[in-house]
Every structure is written in C-alpha cells, then in structure tokens.
Amino acid sequence: MNRSEQDIAVKIVGLKKRYRLGVIGGGTLQGDIQSWLARKRGKEDPNAVIGKKFHEKNATFLALDGIDLTIYKGEKIGIIGHNGAGKSTLLKVFSRITAPTEGKIYVDGRVSSMLEVGTGFHEELTGRENIYLNGAILGMSRAEVDSKIEKIIEFSECRKFIDTPVKRYSSGMYVKLAFSVSAHLDADILVMDEVLAVGDVKFQQKCLNKMSEVSSSEGKTILYVSHNMNTIRQLCDRCVVMDHGKIVFDGDVDEAIAIYSQIQKKDRSSFVDLTNAKRYNRVENTRYMTFKSIEFLGKDENIFSNGEHASARVVIDSEIKVEHAKIRIGFYDVYDRKIGSGICTDVGVIEPGKNSIDLDIDFTGIVDGTYRGELILFTQDSFSGVSEHDIVLEGFWFDVYNKSDIPWNAFKWGSVRLRDIIKK
C-alpha cells in the first residue's frame, strides 16, 4: 500500500469530545451567575450538592478519547463497537453537528451525512417537494436535484405517490424515498449511521448494492456505522472497532468483527462462577482440584485504575490435600494476545473440600483497556517439574483505566508499559 497524502480523504488527529456529567449548569440564570462568581473568586459553589467536592460536580466523560484515523479515497470503512463506544459521537463530530473538544479533522471532499433517514422531511409537503427540500439540506443545488429527480423517483419505487404529502406514506415508503435522495448525492464522502436498519430486506440489498456501486465506480469514500455485521461484511473493505471512545482495532473486516464479538461477550461483573467456565482440554474431564469461583472484593464491576491493588477471593474445590499449591493468572488483551502472567508462589495448604483463598493482584503497568484473565492452579515437584491441575481459559474480564500522559497505542505498542526509562 503505497498511498500519498493526496489520496487521503479524511484525516483525524487526536480527536476528543468531552461531556460534562450530571446536570449542566444550575438550570437558572441566577444559579449560573452564582456558580460562575464563586468559581472566579475561588470559593465553594453555592449550588453544589452539599458534601460533594467541586471537582465531582464537574466530572467529565470522554466520549471520544483521542481518535487518530486516516481514511483514503474510495475506502469503505465500517465502524463497529457496542453501545456507548463513541461511534455516533464520532460521526456527529465528523458531520459538524457538534464541535470537538480537542483535535482536528481534515476533510478533502464534500461530505454528506445520513445519521437518520428522512431528516428534514416535512410532513405536509409532497414526495417531490421533499426531494427538493431534503436535497437542499444535504447540500444539493436545485439544478442538481432537477437533473437527478427522475433517477431518485425511480430508485425509491414511490412514483405513484410522489405528489402525495409524505404524511400519508407508510414508514417503508418514507425510508425508501429518503434513502434514494441521499444515495444520489454528489458527495465525495458518505457518512451513514445505521440507516439501513429500516426498510425491507429487498430494499436493503438494493441500497447496499447501490452504495458498493457508487463507491467503486465513482470512487466515493464511505463511513458506515452499524450493528449488523452482515451489512458491514458486505459493504466495507476496512473496519474499525471502537471501545470506550478509542479505536481498539483498525484493519481487516473479519478480524474486526471477531474482536468486536469478543468485547461484546465480556462480562465484567466482579463475581464469576467458574464451575462451567471454558477450560483447557486436558483438564476438562479429569481433575481433582477445581476453581469454583473468583470474586473481586469491594467491586461491582471489575474496573481498576492503574496501580490499584485488587483483592480477589478464589474458591477452590479439592478432593485431596495439596501443599504448596501455586496460582498463575495469565492476562490477554482484546486482540487475544497474551500480555503476561502473574504468579502467587504459595497459596498454602489446600485441604479436601472448599478452600477460600484471598489474593492481592497488582495491575501496575497494564495500560488502559479491556483484558481477560485465565487462571491456572499448579504445583511444582522437587525436580522443578510443573504439573497443572486446573486451567480456566476464560476466567474473568476486567477493565483498566489509566489516563496516560502520552496517548498509548496498545495495538502497536503492546499492553504493558514498563517503568519509565530514566535519563542518567
């Protein structure tokens, strides 16, 4: 892939969007002025909830947390991620509906965004009038619509009703007409958010074909957000996975979908019953020691900040008595790459029956992200031979929140940040 800067359609650099949590403003002008004056004079905000500190009231949330993305002309990019991952915020900022807090987006070409089907349609106007209105809202001139109206009507399959007010339309017709307008735009970059989720399958297919066609024949760049993996697979040739306002994967579509489904699957709840957890084949049926459960104490969800020590209670069911048992916990990132392991070298004596063991796990060095932990119970004989008694592959999921001074690219740099290198 040898593409020059001239082939770039969109370049996103360090994009951030910050939202304030809680109630924005005091709600009244008087309250806002009071708060503002107090802030200016460095006093306590009279409108703050008593007992809450200043910074708590102004807690913020990064919907987009440092997005870097370069899109080349003619690429069809899919954006996937679970709800709240920041996909829609990204499209909103990109479509200039709301301004970013930090960072820049460089755009080359005319952008047309479809974040919703039929925006700007007026109920009282006829289909034809709405085509003109919608076209103009999307940035087409009257002459442009004039030259395309026949194609648009043809594509929409609504010719019969084109001079009827759209309030009489069925929702399907409405969608078809709206999509037809957008599909015939002269834009260089098409941005779409879940717009194909509506309409019947046949029309969906028609739209997908139409979009593939315009992309390949006219070289249009497409940004497409969807939860429907099939349409992503069909339309896109590159895919980005977002999680917690960050891009966690960028590349091949199938790989991206695999990662996405893994992120989706994870359950960060603090108590995990391991009785039926996925185990390594060898120990699946024959074992005399079993991990029953793991619980992170004092947590509702396994979300840790960097440097935090987690207290975990592991319950082991044993048929025999074992001395000097050891526990190893291996950590994987969302790309399913092993990032390292930690060992508890002596959990003491394991008695027959239920044993409850409290562990202290230190996450220092693990960078911001989502991880999976595997659990291994093993012993070591006097000849240093290791025998593993139970291997739980999917033990628990957890998140590490670690605001780094330098934006950390885990995909390229790895998921562990070693101690800082010091200049002597």
């Binding site: 924005i24 509906i97 709301t98 301004a99 460089y106 925006t119 809202i137 999307l138």
Partner: protein
C-alpha cells in the same frame, strides 16, 4: 507536497465569522425553507392564505375602535384606520422577525441534531418569509391608502416613501438580530421564550404604533425615539401618510444599534451553533 483540504473541523473558531460564502452556497435551501414556510403554514385551514390579511386587519380595526374612537387618542389628523394600519404593518414585520427566529434552535433541534448545513440559513429564511407577509400586508395598506386619497382624505405621499426598502431592511436587521440572540440563549434558558412574546407586547407600547409621536412632550419624544423601532415606524408613516415627524438623526442611531445587535447575534449564534446539541 502539502495538501489543500476542503474543510478542517476543530474546536476553536473565529469570533465573527459570517460564513456568508457557505450560506450563499446553500441559497437554494434558504429559498426552499421560505417556500416550505409559505406553503405549509395555512395547509388544512378554512381561510388559507386569507389569514395573511385578516390578522393585521383585525388588529387595526380593534385599535381603531378602542384607541381611536373610545380613548380618542390623537392620530395627527390622519384617518385612524390608515394611522393604525401603517404602524401595525411595520411593527408586525419587526415582531415576526423576532419571534420566528427566536425559536431557531429549539424548533429545529431534531433537524440540527442529525444533519449539518449552515444554521444561519434558518433565521435568514424566517426573515424572508416574514417579508412576504409584510409585502402582502403592505399592498393592502396601499389599497386602503388609494381609497382614502380618492375620497380626499388628509394624506399625501412624500419623498421619504422612497426610503421604504431601507426602512424595511432596518427592521429586518434589528428583528433578526434580536431573534438570533434570543434563540442562542433559549438553548439554555427556556423561559426566555415566554419573555419574548411578553416583552414584544410591552415594546410595542413604547413605539409610535398606537401613540402618535408628535403628540408627546419633547422629552418623551426623545425617549421614545431612542427605541430603535420608533424612528423607522415614524419615517414610514411620514413617507406614506405625510404626517408625523422625520427623526433622521434617530434613524441613523437606530441603524447603528441594529448592526451592532446583529453582529452580537451572529457571534452568539455561531458560538452556540457549535455545541448546542450538547445543551439543548
């Protein structure tokens, strides 16, 4: 080789950026908005476009009866109907500019939240569609004027009438300016909407719509003319009916105020436009 970008989206923005080029690019949209307002306003009504005429006519008749006949207020010797109607036509245009643009953000929140186009097209379209109402009402006024002139009433058209386009533009600038200031603030404080209709009513009584300016004392006259709408109405009336005063100095001040209000409005509007989806 450095690349030329079509657009750069970033967090900071210029304070006064009229974005005229962009609005011009979307001129077809402005036109379609005007058309949409015009054609949909009176769909599914009994009287339809007649409402354009009925509203000012009713107001004028009520004023003629209440203020002219019952209260006996001076109309500078001009037929009461013409006096009130001329004031109303001008005032209604101004207040329409304010009220129709004051809701720009709130009433378009759904649309603005889903798609980008220069937001300024919306208030511009509102001002233009109000202008259509104004023209229709103004033509009716001219019709009445003609009837009264033919009957030999004490009215005559003066050269000031030629300034009408500038007078109307002044009202448009002032009204739209106030409207977009209010629309920017209503994204945060909703009760401003209520204050608008209330405030406009009060404002009308401080304009020479009902009161004849020349019947006031010098001091009160000067106070009233400080209201930027007053000199416009007064000049309009002088131009077409030949009665009242010609406060050209105050008109100059009014223009100054209007331009400043509009500039402040655009500044606020551009600021709010960028993030209003997060507060609305």
């Amino acid at each position: 080789m450095s690349k030329k970008w079509t657009a750069i989206i970033e967090s900071d923005h210029k304070l006064v950026d009229l974005k005229l080029k962009e609005v011009w690019h979307y001129r077809d949209l402005v036109w379609l908005f005007v058309k949409r307002d015009f054609t949909t306003r009176y769909k599914q009504t009994i009287l339809g476009p007649l409402w354009f005429v009925i509203q000012p006519l009713f107001v004028t008749i009520v004023q003629t009866i209440v203020f002219g006949n019952m209260a006996g207020l001076s109309t500078d010797g001009v037929p009461e109907l013409l006096f009130y109607m001329s004031g109303n036509v001008a005032w209604l245009y101004f207040s329409a500019c304010v009220t129709s643009t004051a809701n720009t953000f709130l009433s378009n929140a759904r649309l603005f939240g889903k798609i980008y186009f220069p937001r300024m097209t919306s208030p511009i379209a509102s001002a233009i569609s109000s202008l259509i109402n104004f023209v229709i009402q103004f033509l009716i006024l001219l019709g009445f004027l003609l009837v009264f002139i033919l009957q030999g009433a004490n009215v005559h058209i003066t050269w000031v009438a030629a300034l009408t386009p500038l007078l109307v533009l002044n009202l448009a600038v002032l009204g739209t300016g106030f409207g977009i200031i209010i629309s920017s603030l209503t994204t945060k404080y909703r009760d401003l909407q209520v204050m608008v209709s209330f405030g406009l009513q009060l404002w009308m009584y401080f304009s020479p719509v009902i009161l004849s300016a020349s019947s006031l004392s010098d001091k009160m006259y000067n106070v009233m003319m400080c209201n930027p709408v007053s000199p416009v109405i007064e000049l309009m009336r002088y131009g077409w009916l030949g009665s009242g005063t010609t406060p050209f100095l105050f008109w100059g001040i009014s223009w100054g105020v209007s331009v400043i209000v509009l500039l402040i409005g655009i500044m606020l509007f551009n600021k709010v436009e960028r993030t209003f989806m997060d507060t609305v």
